[in-house]
Amino acid sequence: MRHHRVLRIISKLLIPFIMLFALYVQFHGDFGPGGGFQAGVIFASAFILYGLIFGLENVRKVAPPAVVTRLIAAGVLLYAGTGYAGLFGGGNFLDYSVLRADPVAGQHLGIMVIEFGVGTTVAATMITIFFLFAGRDR
């Protein structure tokens, strides 16, 4: 892709905005359409675009496969951990109301953390799938 100057420059311009849009979808998910799953896919697409244009080696330097694999687990743990926090707060599993003194604030915090866990796992999984398919011939 070294000679495709247009592709390289345009994707370099686009990638920060893709990531920003992903973060918007992530953190605006509890007010409007969106949420962790969609945000994770969009965030991962920034890495996948970078990988397609600048090569697998470069994207592996930015997102080392070992770290990405651990992020898959970290997202699930964040989700489960929030659930357990509800238990320790005296509510049922995944009861966000007890996370804060004010139940409404607790619900806000809970869904935010849960969705961030979902987003982390989805993004890391998408990147891992890309690594696996792109690295097949080596």
């Binding site: 687990a73 970290a74 699930v76 489960a80 659930g83 357990y84 509800g86 049922n92 009861d95």
Partner: protein, 499 residues
Amino acid sequence: MSGLIGDLLAHLPALQVVVPLAAAPLCLLAGRAGLAWIIAFTAAVAATATAAALAYLTFHNGTISYHMGGWAPPWGIEYVVDTANALILLLVSAIATVVLAFCPASVAREIRPGSQHLFYCMFILCLTGLLGIAVTGDAFNVFVFLEISSLSSYALIAMGGHRKALTAAFQYLIMGTIGATFFLIGVGLLYMMTGTLNMADLQARIPAIQDSRPVAAAMAFITVGLALKAALFPLHLWLPNAYASAPSAVSAFIAATATKVSLYVLLRFTFTIFGANFAFLNLPLHWVLLVLAVIAMFAGSFSAIFQRDVKRMLAYSSIAQIGYITLAISLASSAGISAALIHIFNHGLMKAALFCAMGCIFYRIGSTRIEHFAGLGRQMPWTMTAIVAAGLSLLGVPLTAGFISKWYLVQAALQADLWWLVILIAASSLLALVYVWRLVEAMYFKAPPAGREDVGEAPLSMLLPTLLLAGLNIYFGLDTRLPVAMAESAAALLLRGQM
């Protein structure tokens, strides 16, 4: 302190699922096989303790309901544990624990060193899914957990050593996805008609609209989807390849639990949600299930006789045994449901013992083909004892768990005045005798081939779980209180206010 224990008891239905769920990512983070095994095994032991406590509580105090996230049903997701699913939870988590105890040596032999921790991650995730299917009282939640258990079992099967494991896993993936999709279409139709996904709420709303076509279509879609997942004839084609190609420990776990959990869901949807009157009086479900079950009993056993790979033979035998369970369900009586649940429990024990024994043999001779079994009776006497004990149980010989199953099945058939079924059950058991005898003949009446004189017994860490499972087949043939009492209580609950 009692306050803490009381708190713990109140959250048991959630902990049943979320302890293994949290263990799965920890296994991935552990990165090393030994550490991952410790995490997985601890979670499985905790799940078994939880299931035992739930079984005790539901049997003595009645049904337990848990509101996930504090949201009241029917809006929130409700977990409901009664004696029917408590028995399934106990079977699934206990088998998982014993098979995990069997795992380290077997996995070290069969799985690539770099991905052994992934194996444990997938194993415990599969356990999470199966437990979740059983524990939930929400129809859509069943689908979510069905996918968790299915996706992880595809990955587990693909970890089998041969290239064939990849095609087997892919075949299972296609068939399993079709089954799950059919199930989801059925649940979607029910949601369209009733506006609810909570099982108890569905039960209350369906009678008013049960003459409508979408409800009948929902029943058909759900039954076909679950029959695919349960490998009921003629939807069983994925099963032999999957069981034969999977790593030994995976065959033992999945053969003993996965299809059984699908049959439990079939029981739950047929009797609790749709109701026996709708399924068996408005629609002819009993004839559909009865005919397919009888064909499965004979086709499965008959195919098993001609298999050269013993794991594949046991897989075909599973298809026949699923026929017995479905036959018991099709009788639509209290005795029939009890017989089905008892056989779900006992057959889990038989197949877990037999597939673990196959794992022991594969560990020593690197094959499970029947021609390589020659002379193993003297070289691996304890493994062979386990095979014989579980094999006798499979046949239904008195003093084994299998006899108890057949006894209740025959009684249920006689109660329904279907005496000819008794003849068919006996005839198909004779077919089972043929394939079990082939094994015994190869093991005890042939000399080991040249160059294999030095084969010894499998390591103790594999042998003890195998013998424990085989011993349980004898134990539950003598002391039938646990499965029978739970199953009879469950049958009464499933048929409450019906027929």
